[in-house]
Symmetry: C2
Subunit: 167 residues, 2 copies
C-alpha cells in the first residue's frame, strides 16, 4: 500500500488535507537568469496519485519557465487559519483535450471566457517530491500564545513542522 | 527622487502597502539539487530603502541555501483579503548585534526564547529586484463575481496584475 498512492502516508495525507482547505497556491518557478517568480494559482486539484493540477494559459511566462526548468514550489499560505504548506516538485505543461474536458469546471470561465475548447487552455501537472507543513496552535492568537508560553516555560511554542517525502 | 528609495515608485509603493498588511511571507530558496523549498517567515520589516528583513536562526536549512544561492522569492498570500504578491530578490544572511538590537521586538521571544543575545539569532536581508501583485475586485466573492462578469460580457474579470521593477 506504500507505492503509487502518496496519500497512504500519514504525513502526506495531512499535507493534502491542509492544502485542500487553502485552495489558492503560489507557484514559484525559476526563469532563465535564476530569478524566482511566483503567482497565485486557483482551481487546485489533487488527483488519486497525489499529483496537483492547475489550468493555465498555454503561452505564458510560467509555462515558458517550466519548459526550461521543471523544478517548482507550491506554497500554500492562509494567515486566517495559520496554515502554511510547502510542496517541492516537478512540473509539466500538458495540452490534452480529453483531460481538459474531464477536469473542466464552469467556474473556469472566469479565466477562460471562451471555454474549454479555447486552444490556449492547458494544464500544469505537478508531481510532488517533498512537502512540509506548519501546524500552529489552533487559536488565531498563535503569536500571543506562543509568546506567553515562551515566557513562562523558556521554550519555543508548540509549532509542529513536519517534512514529508512524497516521491 | 527615483534612485535609492524604491518607494518613490508608485507600483512599488502599492506593493509594499499590500505586503505590510499580509505580514507572513513564504520565503522560497533553491537547494543544492535545484529543489525549491519555501517556509513561512514572520516579523516582516521593510526598511526605508525597500529592503525586507527577517529574523532567522543562523544555522538552518534556509541560511545554508541562501549561502549557496542568493536568489530568493517572497510570496505573500492572503486568501481572506484576496491579496497576492510576489517579490524576487537577492538575500543575505547577517550577524550584526547592533542591527539585531535595533530591530529586536519582544514578541520575537516566541522564536528565540533566549533573547536577542543568543548567538543563533541572525538576520536575513532581501534586496527586492522585481515584484508583482494581483488586485482582485474588492468583494471576497471574487470568483463568483468574475464568473458572472465573464458570462455577461465574455471578458475576464478585472483582476489587475502589475509587474514592478524594484532594482
Amino acid at each position: 500500500m506504500h507505492q503509487g498512492n502518496h496519500r497512504d502516508h500519514e504525513g502526506a495525507k495531512k499535507l493534502f488535507e491542509l492544502v485542500k482547505d487553502v485552495k489558492v497556491a503560489m507557484l514559484t518557478t525559476a526563469d532563465q537568469d535564476g530569478t524566482l517568480n511566483s503567482r497565485p494559482m486557483w482551481n487546485n486539484e489533487i488527483d488519486e496519485n497525489g499529483d496537483v493540477w492547475f489550468f493555465t494559459k498555454l503561452h505564458s511566462p510560467k509555462t515558458a519557465e517550466i519548459g526550461r526548468d521543471n523544478q517548482v514550489n507550491l506554497s500554500y499560505s492562509d494567515p486566517s487559519s495559520q496554515t502554511y504548506v510547502s510542496i517541492a516538485g516537478k512540473a509539466e505543461v500538458i495540452r490534452d483535450q480529453k483531460l481538459i474536458d474531464e477536469k473542466w469546471q464552469e467556474s473556469l470561465k472566469t479565466w477562460f471566457p471562451n471555454g474549454k475548447n479555447d486552444p490556449e487552455v492547458g494544464l500544469i501537472r505537478i508531481h510532488p517530491e517533498q512537502g512540509e507543513y506548519w501546524d500552529s496552535p489552533s487559536s488565531t492568537m498563535v503569536h500571543l500564545y506562543g509568546y506567553v508560553k515562551a515566557s513562562l516555560t523558556g521554550e519555543s511554542p508548540k509549532t509542529e513542522t513536519k517534512k514529508v517525502n512524497l516521491a
